[in-house]
Protein backbone atom coordinates (compact mmCIF):
# COMPACT_ATOMS: atom_id res chain seq x y z
CA UNK A 1 0.00 0.00 0.00
CA UNK A 2 2.69 2.48 1.04
CA UNK A 3 4.74 1.52 -1.94
CA UNK A 4 1.71 2.27 -4.12
CA UNK A 5 1.34 5.65 -2.54
CA UNK A 6 4.92 6.57 -3.38
CA UNK A 7 4.37 5.86 -7.03
CA UNK A 8 1.63 8.51 -7.19
CA UNK A 9 2.74 11.77 -8.59
CA UNK A 10 2.06 15.00 -6.80
CA UNK A 11 -0.29 17.05 -8.91
CA UNK A 12 -0.96 20.75 -9.09
CA UNK A 13 -2.08 22.47 -5.91
CA UNK A 14 -0.74 19.64 -3.76
CA UNK A 15 -3.59 17.36 -4.85
CA UNK A 16 -2.98 13.76 -5.89
CA UNK A 17 -4.42 12.56 -9.20
CA UNK A 18 -7.71 10.64 -9.02
CA UNK A 19 -6.60 8.30 -11.80
CA UNK A 20 -3.07 7.40 -12.83
CA UNK A 21 -2.55 5.26 -15.91
CA UNK A 22 1.00 4.08 -16.50
CA UNK A 23 2.26 2.42 -19.64
CA UNK A 24 -0.92 0.38 -20.10
CA UNK A 25 -1.21 -2.18 -22.89
CA UNK A 26 -4.18 -4.26 -23.95
CA UNK A 27 -4.07 -7.19 -26.32
CA UNK A 28 -7.20 -8.98 -27.61
CA UNK A 29 -6.04 -12.22 -29.22
CA UNK A 30 -3.46 -10.99 -31.70
CA UNK A 31 -4.75 -7.41 -31.79
CA UNK A 32 -2.68 -4.84 -29.93
CA UNK A 33 -5.47 -2.42 -29.00
CA UNK A 34 -3.66 -0.18 -26.50
CA UNK A 35 0.07 0.42 -26.95
CA UNK A 36 1.45 2.05 -23.83
CA UNK A 37 -1.01 4.63 -22.51
CA UNK A 38 0.07 7.19 -19.90
CA UNK A 39 -2.53 9.51 -18.45
CA UNK A 40 -3.38 11.35 -15.25
CA UNK A 41 -6.76 12.72 -14.25
CA UNK A 42 -6.87 15.31 -11.47
CA UNK A 43 -9.76 15.21 -8.99
CA UNK A 44 -12.67 17.48 -9.82
CA UNK A 45 -11.70 17.80 -13.48
CA UNK A 46 -13.28 16.63 -16.72
CA UNK A 47 -11.19 14.74 -19.26
CA UNK A 48 -12.59 14.30 -22.75
CA UNK A 49 -11.17 11.37 -24.73
CA UNK A 50 -11.55 11.85 -28.47
CA UNK A 51 -10.57 9.70 -31.39
CA UNK A 52 -11.82 7.68 -34.35
CA UNK A 53 -13.62 4.39 -33.73
CA UNK A 54 -11.20 1.58 -33.08
CA UNK A 55 -8.67 3.93 -31.49
CA UNK A 56 -9.00 2.12 -28.15
CA UNK A 57 -10.69 4.90 -26.18
CA UNK A 58 -13.62 2.78 -24.98
CA UNK A 59 -11.22 -0.03 -24.05
CA UNK A 60 -9.20 2.44 -21.96
CA UNK A 61 -12.36 3.48 -20.11
CA UNK A 62 -13.34 -0.15 -19.52
CA UNK A 63 -9.86 -0.90 -18.14
CA UNK A 64 -10.24 1.86 -15.53
CA UNK A 65 -13.42 0.16 -14.28
CA UNK A 66 -11.98 -3.36 -14.70
CA UNK A 67 -14.61 -4.47 -17.19
CA UNK A 68 -11.55 -5.68 -19.10
CA UNK A 69 -8.23 -6.78 -17.60
CA UNK A 70 -5.12 -4.97 -18.77
CA UNK A 71 -2.33 -6.94 -20.42
CA UNK A 72 0.45 -4.76 -18.98
CA UNK A 73 0.94 -1.57 -17.01
CA UNK A 74 -0.53 -0.04 -13.90
CA UNK A 75 -3.77 1.81 -13.14
CA UNK A 76 -4.27 3.59 -9.84
CA UNK A 77 -7.64 4.94 -8.69
CA UNK A 78 -7.49 7.25 -5.67
CA UNK A 79 -3.92 6.06 -5.16
CA UNK A 80 -4.90 2.39 -5.00
CA UNK A 81 -3.63 -0.14 -7.54
CA UNK A 82 -6.65 -1.66 -9.32
CA UNK A 83 -7.23 -5.35 -9.98
CA UNK A 84 -4.10 -6.69 -8.32
CA UNK A 85 -2.20 -6.64 -5.08
CA UNK A 86 1.58 -6.71 -4.79
CA UNK A 87 2.82 -9.61 -2.70
CA UNK A 88 6.40 -10.34 -1.75
CA UNK A 89 7.46 -13.92 -2.42
CA UNK A 90 10.99 -13.38 -1.13
CA UNK A 91 12.28 -13.16 -4.71
CA UNK A 92 10.79 -9.71 -5.19
CA UNK A 93 7.24 -8.40 -5.61
CA UNK A 94 4.71 -10.38 -7.64
CA UNK A 95 1.15 -9.41 -8.65
CA UNK A 96 -1.79 -11.42 -7.36
CA UNK A 97 -5.32 -11.00 -8.76
CA UNK A 98 -7.80 -9.51 -6.29
CA UNK A 99 -10.87 -11.55 -5.38
CA UNK A 100 -14.36 -10.68 -6.68
CA UNK A 101 -15.36 -8.83 -3.51
CA UNK A 102 -12.30 -6.56 -3.54
CA UNK A 103 -12.79 -5.80 -7.23
CA UNK A 104 -16.48 -5.03 -6.62
CA UNK A 105 -15.46 -2.65 -3.83
CA UNK A 106 -13.00 -0.83 -6.12
CA UNK A 107 -15.66 -0.57 -8.82
CA UNK A 108 -18.27 0.85 -6.45
CA UNK A 109 -16.15 4.02 -6.19
CA UNK A 110 -16.45 4.53 -9.93
CA UNK A 111 -19.74 5.25 -11.69
CA UNK A 112 -20.13 4.28 -15.33
CA UNK A 113 -22.57 5.36 -18.03
CA UNK A 114 -22.83 3.24 -21.16
CA UNK A 115 -23.57 4.02 -24.77
CA UNK A 116 -26.57 1.69 -24.72
CA UNK A 117 -27.80 2.82 -21.26
CA UNK A 118 -27.99 -0.78 -19.91
CA UNK A 119 -30.81 0.01 -17.51
CA UNK A 120 -32.33 -3.04 -15.81
CA UNK A 121 -35.49 -3.56 -17.89
CA UNK A 122 -37.38 -5.49 -15.18
CA UNK A 123 -37.19 -2.56 -12.75
CA UNK A 124 -38.79 0.89 -12.79
CA UNK A 125 -36.61 4.00 -13.03
CA UNK A 126 -36.78 4.40 -9.24
CA UNK A 127 -35.92 0.73 -8.63
CA UNK A 128 -32.98 1.02 -11.04
CA UNK A 129 -31.55 3.88 -9.01
CA UNK A 130 -32.26 2.21 -5.64
CA UNK A 131 -30.84 -1.20 -6.58
CA UNK A 132 -27.14 -0.69 -5.84
CA UNK A 133 -27.48 1.53 -2.72
CA UNK A 134 -29.85 -1.03 -1.13
CA UNK A 135 -28.04 -4.23 -2.12
CA UNK A 136 -24.41 -3.11 -2.38
CA UNK A 137 -24.34 -0.09 -0.07
CA UNK A 138 -26.69 -1.64 2.52
CA UNK A 139 -28.61 1.63 2.80
CA UNK A 140 -32.06 1.14 4.44
CA UNK A 141 -34.81 1.00 1.82
CA UNK A 142 -36.67 4.13 2.94
CA UNK A 143 -33.47 6.21 2.90
CA UNK A 144 -32.46 4.77 -0.47
CA UNK A 145 -35.87 5.63 -1.88
CA UNK A 146 -35.59 9.25 -0.75
CA UNK A 147 -32.07 9.49 -2.12
CA UNK A 148 -33.13 7.91 -5.44
CA UNK A 149 -36.03 10.35 -5.74
CA UNK A 150 -33.62 13.24 -5.16
CA UNK A 151 -31.22 11.87 -7.81
CA UNK A 152 -34.05 11.50 -10.35
CA UNK A 153 -35.21 15.04 -9.61
CA UNK A 154 -31.66 16.20 -10.19
CA UNK A 155 -31.76 14.80 -13.74
CA UNK A 156 -35.26 16.20 -14.28
CA UNK A 157 -37.23 12.94 -14.17
CA UNK A 158 -39.38 13.42 -11.06
CA UNK A 159 -42.49 12.58 -13.11
CA UNK A 160 -41.01 9.39 -14.62
CA UNK A 161 -39.97 7.49 -11.48
CA UNK A 162 -42.43 4.61 -11.81
CA UNK A 163 -41.90 4.07 -15.54
CA UNK A 164 -40.09 1.03 -16.87
CA UNK A 165 -37.10 1.74 -19.15
CA UNK A 166 -39.06 0.54 -22.19
CA UNK A 167 -41.57 3.32 -21.54
CA UNK A 168 -38.89 6.03 -21.60
CA UNK A 169 -37.18 7.79 -24.50
CA UNK A 170 -33.46 7.24 -25.07
CA UNK A 171 -32.58 10.57 -23.49
CA UNK A 172 -34.69 9.82 -20.43
CA UNK A 173 -33.15 6.35 -20.13
CA UNK A 174 -29.65 7.80 -20.24
CA UNK A 175 -30.54 10.34 -17.55
CA UNK A 176 -31.86 7.51 -15.34
CA UNK A 177 -28.55 5.70 -15.98
CA UNK A 178 -26.64 8.79 -14.82
CA UNK A 179 -28.83 9.05 -11.70
CA UNK A 180 -28.26 5.33 -11.05
CA UNK A 181 -24.49 5.80 -11.16
CA UNK A 182 -24.59 8.95 -9.01
CA UNK A 183 -26.69 7.22 -6.34
CA UNK A 184 -23.60 5.21 -5.30
CA UNK A 185 -21.77 8.49 -4.57
CA UNK A 186 -18.81 7.61 -6.76
CA UNK A 187 -15.54 9.58 -6.68
CA UNK A 188 -15.21 9.27 -10.44
CA UNK A 189 -17.72 9.04 -13.30
CA UNK A 190 -16.88 7.36 -16.60
CA UNK A 191 -19.01 8.10 -19.68
CA UNK A 192 -18.63 5.76 -22.66
CA UNK A 193 -20.06 7.62 -25.66
CA UNK A 194 -23.19 8.53 -23.67
CA UNK A 195 -24.97 10.32 -26.51
CA UNK A 196 -23.98 8.16 -29.50
CA UNK A 197 -27.11 6.00 -29.40
CA UNK A 198 -29.50 8.96 -29.11
CA UNK A 199 -31.62 10.76 -31.66
CA UNK A 200 -30.07 14.18 -32.35
CA UNK A 201 -32.83 16.11 -30.59
CA UNK A 202 -32.27 14.13 -27.36
CA UNK A 203 -28.51 14.69 -27.14
CA UNK A 204 -28.89 18.11 -25.54
CA UNK A 205 -30.81 16.95 -22.46
CA UNK A 206 -28.14 14.35 -21.61
CA UNK A 207 -25.24 16.76 -22.18
CA UNK A 208 -27.09 19.28 -19.99
CA UNK A 209 -27.19 16.79 -17.09
CA UNK A 210 -23.51 15.92 -17.63
CA UNK A 211 -22.56 19.61 -17.60
CA UNK A 212 -24.43 20.00 -14.32
CA UNK A 213 -22.62 16.99 -12.80
CA UNK A 214 -19.29 18.49 -13.91
CA UNK A 215 -20.12 21.84 -12.35
CA UNK A 216 -20.72 20.12 -9.03
CA UNK A 217 -17.07 19.08 -9.02
CA UNK A 218 -17.26 15.44 -10.15
CA UNK A 219 -14.13 13.87 -11.60
CA UNK A 220 -15.20 12.77 -15.07
CA UNK A 221 -13.67 10.89 -17.98
CA UNK A 222 -15.85 11.21 -21.07
CA UNK A 223 -15.35 9.33 -24.31
CA UNK A 224 -17.33 11.39 -26.79
CA UNK A 225 -17.77 12.71 -30.30
CA UNK A 226 -19.41 15.92 -29.04
CA UNK A 227 -16.67 18.45 -29.77
CA UNK A 228 -18.73 21.36 -28.46
CA UNK A 229 -19.18 19.67 -25.10
CA UNK A 230 -15.49 18.75 -24.90
CA UNK A 231 -14.35 22.30 -25.69
CA UNK A 232 -16.76 23.86 -23.24
CA UNK A 233 -16.64 21.50 -20.24
CA UNK A 234 -13.34 19.59 -20.34
CA UNK A 235 -10.18 20.76 -18.60
CA UNK A 236 -8.15 18.09 -20.37
CA UNK A 237 -8.42 16.89 -23.97
CA UNK A 238 -6.93 13.54 -24.95
CA UNK A 239 -6.79 12.50 -28.60
CA UNK A 240 -6.17 8.82 -29.25
CA UNK A 241 -5.48 6.97 -32.46
CA UNK A 242 -4.47 3.36 -33.08
CA UNK A 243 -3.95 2.61 -29.41
CA UNK A 244 -1.73 5.53 -28.47
CA UNK A 245 -2.33 9.02 -27.07
CA UNK A 246 -1.45 11.22 -30.03
CA UNK A 247 -2.14 14.57 -28.45
CA UNK A 248 -3.01 15.85 -25.02
CA UNK A 249 -3.65 19.32 -23.62
CA UNK A 250 -6.11 21.94 -22.40
CA UNK A 251 -9.49 22.75 -23.97
CA UNK A 252 -7.86 25.08 -26.54
CA UNK A 253 -6.20 22.02 -28.07
CA UNK A 254 -9.37 21.52 -30.13
CA UNK A 255 -8.99 24.95 -31.72
CA UNK A 256 -5.22 24.75 -32.04
CA UNK A 257 -4.25 21.15 -32.67
CA UNK A 258 -0.50 20.56 -32.79
CA UNK A 259 -0.39 17.25 -34.62
CA UNK A 260 -1.39 16.61 -38.20
CA UNK A 261 -3.42 13.53 -37.22
CA UNK A 262 -5.63 15.46 -34.75
CA UNK A 263 -6.09 18.32 -37.26
CA UNK A 264 -7.24 15.79 -39.83
CA UNK A 265 -9.63 14.15 -37.34
CA UNK A 266 -11.13 17.48 -36.32
CA UNK A 267 -11.75 18.31 -39.96
CA UNK A 268 -13.77 15.15 -40.46
CA UNK A 269 -15.98 15.61 -37.39
CA UNK A 270 -16.49 19.38 -37.20
Amino acid sequence: MDEDRQTRKDGQGGKDPAIVIRNVHKVFGNQHVLRGINLEVMPGTVTAVLGPSGSGKSTLLRLINQLETRTAGEIYVDGELTGYRKIDTGKGPVLQTLDDKAIARQRSKIGMVFQRFNLFPHMTALENVMEAPVHVGRVPKTDARKEAQAQLERVGLEDRMDYYPAQLSGGQQQRVAIARALAMHPDIMLFDEPTSALDPELVGEVLGVMRQVAQQGMTMVVVTHEMGFAREVAEQIVFMDQGVVVEQGGPDTIDHPRTERFTEFLHTVL
Binding site: N65, Q66, L67, D100, K101, A104, R105, R107, S108, K109, I110, G111, M112, F114, R116, N118, L119, F120, P121, H122, M123, T124, E131, A132, H135, V136, R160, Y163, Y164, P165, A166, Q167, L168, S169, G171, Q172, A177, R180, A181, M184, E201, L202, E205
Partner: protein
Protein backbone atom coordinates in the same frame (compact mmCIF):
# COMPACT_ATOMS: atom_id res chain seq x y z
CA UNK B 1 -48.72 7.68 -29.82
CA UNK B 2 -52.49 7.56 -29.78
CA UNK B 3 -54.88 4.99 -28.51
CA UNK B 4 -57.62 3.80 -30.81
CA UNK B 5 -60.18 5.85 -28.92
CA UNK B 6 -57.96 8.90 -29.16
CA UNK B 7 -57.70 8.80 -32.95
CA UNK B 8 -61.49 8.59 -33.33
CA UNK B 9 -61.93 11.71 -31.24
CA UNK B 10 -59.77 13.84 -33.50
CA UNK B 11 -61.86 15.46 -36.22
CA UNK B 12 -60.31 15.05 -39.63
CA UNK B 13 -62.23 16.01 -42.77
CA UNK B 14 -62.56 13.17 -45.22
CA UNK B 15 -61.48 10.44 -42.75
CA UNK B 16 -61.36 7.17 -44.69
CA UNK B 17 -63.92 4.56 -43.64
CA UNK B 18 -63.08 1.86 -46.15
CA UNK B 19 -64.81 -1.52 -46.33
CA UNK B 20 -62.47 -4.42 -45.69
CA UNK B 21 -61.46 -6.69 -48.57
CA UNK B 22 -63.83 -9.67 -48.87
CA UNK B 23 -62.04 -12.81 -47.75
CA UNK B 24 -63.94 -16.07 -48.34
CA UNK B 25 -61.23 -18.17 -46.64
CA UNK B 26 -62.50 -18.02 -43.05
CA UNK B 27 -66.09 -18.84 -44.07
CA UNK B 28 -65.06 -21.81 -46.21
CA UNK B 29 -62.81 -23.09 -43.45
CA UNK B 30 -65.55 -22.64 -40.82
CA UNK B 31 -68.02 -24.68 -42.86
CA UNK B 32 -65.56 -27.53 -43.43
CA UNK B 33 -64.49 -27.61 -39.77
CA UNK B 34 -68.11 -27.47 -38.59
CA UNK B 35 -69.00 -30.50 -40.74
CA UNK B 36 -66.08 -32.49 -39.35
CA UNK B 37 -66.85 -31.53 -35.75
CA UNK B 38 -70.52 -32.49 -36.23
CA UNK B 39 -69.51 -35.87 -37.66
CA UNK B 40 -67.11 -36.45 -34.79
CA UNK B 41 -69.66 -35.59 -32.10
CA UNK B 42 -72.33 -37.67 -33.83
CA UNK B 43 -69.98 -40.63 -33.94
CA UNK B 44 -68.94 -40.25 -30.33
CA UNK B 45 -72.54 -40.01 -29.12
CA UNK B 46 -74.06 -42.79 -31.23
CA UNK B 47 -71.19 -45.30 -31.13
CA UNK B 48 -71.94 -47.64 -28.20
CA UNK B 49 -68.26 -48.66 -27.92
CA UNK B 50 -67.47 -45.31 -26.27
CA UNK B 51 -69.76 -46.44 -23.46
CA UNK B 52 -70.41 -42.99 -21.99
CA UNK B 53 -72.43 -44.31 -19.01
CA UNK B 54 -69.29 -46.12 -17.79
CA UNK B 55 -67.22 -42.96 -18.35
CA UNK B 56 -69.59 -40.91 -16.16
CA UNK B 57 -69.73 -43.69 -13.58
CA UNK B 58 -65.96 -43.78 -13.10
CA UNK B 59 -65.13 -40.12 -13.74
CA UNK B 60 -65.39 -39.32 -10.03
CA UNK B 61 -64.51 -42.79 -8.72
CA UNK B 62 -62.50 -42.58 -5.50
CA UNK B 63 -59.51 -44.49 -6.94
CA UNK B 64 -59.51 -42.13 -9.92
CA UNK B 65 -59.63 -39.05 -7.68
CA UNK B 66 -56.88 -40.54 -5.55
CA UNK B 67 -54.89 -41.12 -8.75
CA UNK B 68 -55.31 -37.46 -9.70
CA UNK B 69 -54.06 -36.42 -6.28
CA UNK B 70 -50.93 -38.56 -6.60
CA UNK B 71 -50.29 -37.55 -10.20
CA UNK B 72 -50.45 -33.89 -9.15
CA UNK B 73 -48.24 -34.46 -6.11
CA UNK B 74 -45.62 -36.33 -8.14
CA UNK B 75 -45.67 -33.60 -10.81
CA UNK B 76 -45.29 -30.78 -8.29
CA UNK B 77 -42.60 -32.49 -6.17
CA UNK B 78 -40.60 -33.60 -9.19
CA UNK B 79 -40.81 -30.18 -10.86
CA UNK B 80 -39.85 -28.29 -7.69
CA UNK B 81 -36.86 -30.59 -7.20
CA UNK B 82 -35.98 -30.30 -10.90
CA UNK B 83 -36.24 -26.49 -10.98
CA UNK B 84 -34.03 -25.98 -7.93
CA UNK B 85 -31.45 -28.45 -9.25
CA UNK B 86 -31.66 -27.01 -12.76
CA UNK B 87 -30.84 -23.47 -11.61
CA UNK B 88 -27.93 -24.76 -9.54
CA UNK B 89 -26.68 -26.88 -12.48
CA UNK B 90 -27.00 -23.98 -14.95
CA UNK B 91 -25.15 -21.56 -12.65
CA UNK B 92 -22.47 -24.24 -12.07
CA UNK B 93 -22.16 -24.69 -15.81
CA UNK B 94 -21.42 -20.95 -16.16
CA UNK B 95 -19.10 -20.91 -13.13
CA UNK B 96 -15.44 -19.92 -13.28
CA UNK B 97 -14.68 -23.00 -11.18
CA UNK B 98 -13.75 -25.80 -13.62
CA UNK B 99 -14.65 -28.61 -11.19
CA UNK B 100 -18.23 -27.28 -10.83
CA UNK B 101 -18.52 -26.91 -14.62
CA UNK B 102 -17.39 -30.48 -15.09
CA UNK B 103 -19.74 -31.91 -12.44
CA UNK B 104 -22.67 -30.09 -14.06
CA UNK B 105 -21.71 -31.34 -17.51
CA UNK B 106 -21.43 -34.91 -16.23
CA UNK B 107 -24.84 -34.78 -14.48
CA UNK B 108 -26.54 -33.55 -17.63
CA UNK B 109 -24.70 -36.06 -19.79
CA UNK B 110 -25.71 -38.98 -17.56
CA UNK B 111 -29.34 -38.13 -16.77
CA UNK B 112 -30.17 -36.96 -20.27
CA UNK B 113 -28.35 -39.87 -21.86
CA UNK B 114 -30.26 -42.75 -20.23
CA UNK B 115 -34.00 -43.49 -20.58
CA UNK B 116 -36.17 -42.16 -17.78
CA UNK B 117 -37.91 -45.55 -17.55
CA UNK B 118 -34.56 -47.23 -16.88
CA UNK B 119 -33.70 -44.60 -14.29
CA UNK B 120 -37.00 -45.21 -12.50
CA UNK B 121 -36.41 -48.98 -12.40
CA UNK B 122 -32.94 -48.26 -11.04
CA UNK B 123 -34.28 -45.98 -8.28
CA UNK B 124 -36.80 -48.69 -7.37
CA UNK B 125 -33.98 -51.22 -7.07
CA UNK B 126 -31.57 -48.94 -5.20
CA UNK B 127 -32.51 -50.39 -1.84
CA UNK B 128 -31.45 -53.79 -3.15
CA UNK B 129 -28.23 -52.40 -4.60
CA UNK B 130 -27.33 -50.38 -1.48
CA UNK B 131 -29.26 -51.87 1.47
CA UNK B 132 -27.84 -49.50 4.09
CA UNK B 133 -27.21 -45.75 4.17
CA UNK B 134 -24.69 -44.48 6.70
CA UNK B 135 -23.13 -41.27 7.92
CA UNK B 136 -19.51 -41.42 8.97
CA UNK B 137 -15.95 -40.62 7.95
CA UNK B 138 -15.40 -41.65 4.31
CA UNK B 139 -13.67 -45.05 4.23
CA UNK B 140 -13.66 -44.85 8.05
CA UNK B 141 -16.02 -45.56 10.94
CA UNK B 142 -19.80 -45.03 10.74
CA UNK B 143 -21.68 -42.92 13.27
CA UNK B 144 -25.24 -43.61 12.16
CA UNK B 145 -26.94 -45.83 9.61
CA UNK B 146 -30.40 -46.64 8.32
CA UNK B 147 -32.02 -49.17 6.01
CA UNK B 148 -32.35 -47.71 2.52
CA UNK B 149 -35.86 -49.17 2.22
CA UNK B 150 -37.25 -46.96 4.99
CA UNK B 151 -35.97 -43.73 3.43
CA UNK B 152 -36.34 -44.59 -0.21
CA UNK B 153 -39.96 -45.69 -0.40
CA UNK B 154 -41.77 -45.82 -3.74
CA UNK B 155 -42.88 -42.16 -3.59
CA UNK B 156 -39.41 -40.83 -2.80
CA UNK B 157 -37.86 -43.07 -5.45
CA UNK B 158 -40.33 -41.82 -8.06
CA UNK B 159 -39.85 -38.15 -7.19
CA UNK B 160 -36.06 -38.53 -7.24
CA UNK B 161 -36.13 -40.46 -10.50
CA UNK B 162 -38.42 -38.03 -12.30
CA UNK B 163 -36.87 -34.94 -10.69
CA UNK B 164 -33.22 -35.72 -11.43
CA UNK B 165 -34.00 -36.64 -15.02
CA UNK B 166 -36.03 -33.49 -15.52
CA UNK B 167 -33.33 -31.33 -13.89
CA UNK B 168 -30.92 -32.31 -16.65
CA UNK B 169 -33.32 -31.07 -19.35
CA UNK B 170 -34.45 -27.98 -17.42
CA UNK B 171 -30.89 -26.88 -16.69
CA UNK B 172 -30.28 -26.50 -20.42
CA UNK B 173 -33.41 -24.33 -20.63
CA UNK B 174 -32.17 -22.23 -17.71
CA UNK B 175 -28.75 -21.92 -19.35
CA UNK B 176 -30.36 -20.76 -22.59
CA UNK B 177 -32.30 -18.16 -20.59
CA UNK B 178 -29.18 -16.91 -18.82
CA UNK B 179 -27.25 -16.68 -22.08
CA UNK B 180 -30.07 -14.71 -23.70
CA UNK B 181 -29.72 -11.84 -21.23
CA UNK B 182 -27.85 -8.89 -22.77
CA UNK B 183 -24.20 -8.92 -21.57
CA UNK B 184 -24.55 -5.16 -21.04
CA UNK B 185 -26.75 -5.97 -18.04
CA UNK B 186 -23.93 -7.79 -16.31
CA UNK B 187 -21.51 -4.96 -17.10
CA UNK B 188 -23.86 -2.32 -15.72
CA UNK B 189 -24.30 -4.37 -12.54
CA UNK B 190 -20.53 -4.90 -12.23
CA UNK B 191 -19.96 -1.17 -12.66
CA UNK B 192 -22.31 -0.56 -9.73
CA UNK B 193 -20.08 -2.75 -7.57
CA UNK B 194 -22.24 -5.87 -7.44
CA UNK B 195 -20.43 -9.17 -6.79
CA UNK B 196 -21.08 -12.04 -9.29
CA UNK B 197 -23.53 -13.99 -7.10
CA UNK B 198 -25.69 -10.89 -6.59
CA UNK B 199 -25.63 -10.09 -10.31
CA UNK B 200 -26.90 -13.59 -11.05
CA UNK B 201 -29.64 -13.42 -8.40
CA UNK B 202 -30.87 -9.84 -8.80
CA UNK B 203 -30.20 -8.98 -12.44
CA UNK B 204 -29.63 -11.98 -14.72
CA UNK B 205 -32.00 -14.67 -13.40
CA UNK B 206 -35.09 -12.41 -13.13
CA UNK B 207 -34.62 -11.43 -16.77
CA UNK B 208 -33.81 -14.99 -17.82
CA UNK B 209 -37.11 -16.14 -16.25
CA UNK B 210 -39.02 -14.47 -19.05
CA UNK B 211 -37.36 -16.87 -21.48
CA UNK B 212 -37.32 -19.83 -19.10
CA UNK B 213 -41.02 -19.89 -18.13
CA UNK B 214 -42.67 -20.90 -21.46
CA UNK B 215 -40.51 -24.00 -22.10
CA UNK B 216 -40.72 -24.87 -18.39
CA UNK B 217 -44.51 -24.83 -18.68
CA UNK B 218 -44.05 -27.21 -21.56
CA UNK B 219 -41.85 -29.46 -19.42
CA UNK B 220 -44.36 -29.37 -16.52
CA UNK B 221 -47.15 -30.55 -18.79
CA UNK B 222 -44.80 -33.21 -20.12
CA UNK B 223 -44.02 -34.25 -16.55
CA UNK B 224 -47.73 -34.59 -15.77
CA UNK B 225 -47.89 -37.37 -18.30
CA UNK B 226 -44.43 -38.83 -17.60
CA UNK B 227 -45.64 -39.63 -14.07
CA UNK B 228 -47.49 -42.55 -15.70
CA UNK B 229 -44.08 -44.23 -16.06
CA UNK B 230 -43.91 -44.45 -12.26
CA UNK B 231 -45.08 -48.05 -12.45
CA UNK B 232 -41.46 -48.83 -13.33
CA UNK B 233 -40.44 -48.15 -9.71
CA UNK B 234 -43.14 -49.58 -9.05
CA UNK B 235 -45.38 -46.79 -7.85
CA UNK B 236 -49.03 -47.69 -8.34
CA UNK B 237 -51.23 -44.85 -7.14
CA UNK B 238 -51.11 -42.32 -9.98
CA UNK B 239 -53.94 -41.64 -12.45
CA UNK B 240 -52.85 -43.78 -15.40
CA UNK B 241 -52.28 -46.85 -13.23
CA UNK B 242 -55.53 -46.29 -11.32
CA UNK B 243 -57.70 -46.08 -14.45
CA UNK B 244 -55.85 -48.97 -16.04
CA UNK B 245 -56.43 -51.13 -12.97
CA UNK B 246 -60.17 -50.43 -13.07
CA UNK B 247 -60.25 -51.11 -16.83
CA UNK B 248 -58.56 -54.47 -16.36
CA UNK B 249 -60.94 -55.39 -13.57
CA UNK B 250 -64.18 -54.58 -15.46
CA UNK B 251 -62.84 -55.41 -18.96
CA UNK B 252 -63.66 -51.92 -20.30
CA UNK B 253 -60.48 -50.31 -21.59
CA UNK B 254 -61.79 -47.48 -23.77
CA UNK B 255 -64.16 -45.75 -21.30
CA UNK B 256 -61.42 -45.60 -18.68
CA UNK B 257 -58.88 -44.30 -21.17
CA UNK B 258 -61.39 -41.53 -21.84
CA UNK B 259 -61.67 -40.87 -18.09
CA UNK B 260 -57.88 -40.53 -17.85
CA UNK B 261 -57.77 -38.28 -20.93
CA UNK B 262 -60.47 -35.97 -19.56
CA UNK B 263 -58.58 -35.50 -16.31
CA UNK B 264 -55.21 -35.00 -17.99
CA UNK B 265 -56.83 -32.33 -20.19
CA UNK B 266 -58.42 -30.60 -17.19
CA UNK B 267 -55.13 -30.48 -15.27
CA UNK B 268 -53.24 -29.31 -18.37
CA UNK B 269 -55.74 -26.46 -18.80
CA UNK B 270 -55.20 -25.37 -15.20
CA UNK B 271 -51.42 -25.50 -15.69
CA UNK B 272 -51.74 -23.34 -18.82
CA UNK B 273 -53.56 -20.67 -16.82
CA UNK B 274 -50.80 -20.71 -14.19
CA UNK B 275 -48.17 -20.46 -16.93
CA UNK B 276 -49.90 -17.45 -18.46
CA UNK B 277 -49.90 -15.72 -15.07
CA UNK B 278 -46.19 -16.45 -14.57
CA UNK B 279 -45.38 -15.11 -18.03
CA UNK B 280 -47.25 -11.93 -17.23
CA UNK B 281 -45.31 -11.53 -13.98
CA UNK B 282 -41.86 -12.01 -15.48
CA UNK B 283 -42.74 -10.04 -18.59
CA UNK B 284 -43.24 -6.81 -16.68
CA UNK B 285 -41.18 -3.99 -18.08
CA UNK B 286 -40.73 -5.85 -21.37
CA UNK B 287 -44.21 -5.66 -22.87
CA UNK B 288 -44.67 -1.97 -22.17
CA UNK B 289 -44.46 0.40 -25.08
CA UNK B 290 -43.25 3.98 -24.85
CA UNK B 291 -45.88 6.22 -23.29
CA UNK B 292 -46.21 9.87 -24.14
CA UNK B 293 -43.15 11.62 -22.81
CA UNK B 294 -41.18 14.77 -23.38
CA UNK B 295 -39.33 14.10 -26.59
CA UNK B 296 -40.55 10.51 -26.89
CA UNK B 297 -41.68 10.39 -30.46
CA UNK B 298 -42.88 7.23 -32.01
CA UNK B 299 -42.75 7.95 -35.67
CA UNK B 300 -40.31 5.34 -36.86
CA UNK B 301 -42.54 2.30 -36.85
CA UNK B 302 -43.37 1.22 -40.35
CA UNK B 303 -46.76 -0.15 -39.40
CA UNK B 304 -49.36 1.22 -37.07
CA UNK B 305 -48.14 0.39 -33.55
CA UNK B 306 -51.64 -0.37 -32.38
CA UNK B 307 -52.11 -3.05 -35.02
CA UNK B 308 -48.74 -4.54 -34.32
CA UNK B 309 -49.41 -4.72 -30.60
CA UNK B 310 -52.65 -6.57 -31.21
CA UNK B 311 -51.06 -9.01 -33.64
CA UNK B 312 -48.36 -9.67 -31.04
CA UNK B 313 -51.03 -10.43 -28.46
CA UNK B 314 -52.79 -12.88 -30.75
CA UNK B 315 -49.49 -14.57 -31.57
CA UNK B 316 -48.65 -14.83 -27.90
CA UNK B 317 -51.95 -16.51 -27.09
CA UNK B 318 -51.40 -18.93 -29.93
CA UNK B 319 -47.89 -19.70 -28.71
CA UNK B 320 -49.21 -20.39 -25.21
CA UNK B 321 -51.71 -22.76 -26.78
CA UNK B 322 -49.01 -24.55 -28.78
CA UNK B 323 -46.83 -24.94 -25.73
CA UNK B 324 -49.44 -27.00 -24.00
Amino acid sequence: MHTKKGTDQIQIPGRIHARPVRKPGPIVAAVIVAIFVAMLIHGMVTNPNFDWPTVWKYLFNEHVLDGIKWTLLLTVYAMVLATILAIILAVMRKSSNPVLRWVSWFFIWFFRGTPVYTQLVFWGLLSVLIPKLAIGIPFGPEFWSIDTKTVLNATVATVLGLGLNEAAYLSEIVRAGIEAVDPGQEEAAKALGMPPSMIMRRIVLPQAMRIIVPPTGNETIGMLKTTSLALAVPFTLELQFATNAIANRIYKTIPLLIVACIWYLVITSVLMVIQAQLEKHYGKGFDSRPLAGSGAKDGKDGEDPQTRQETDKVNKVMMAGLNA
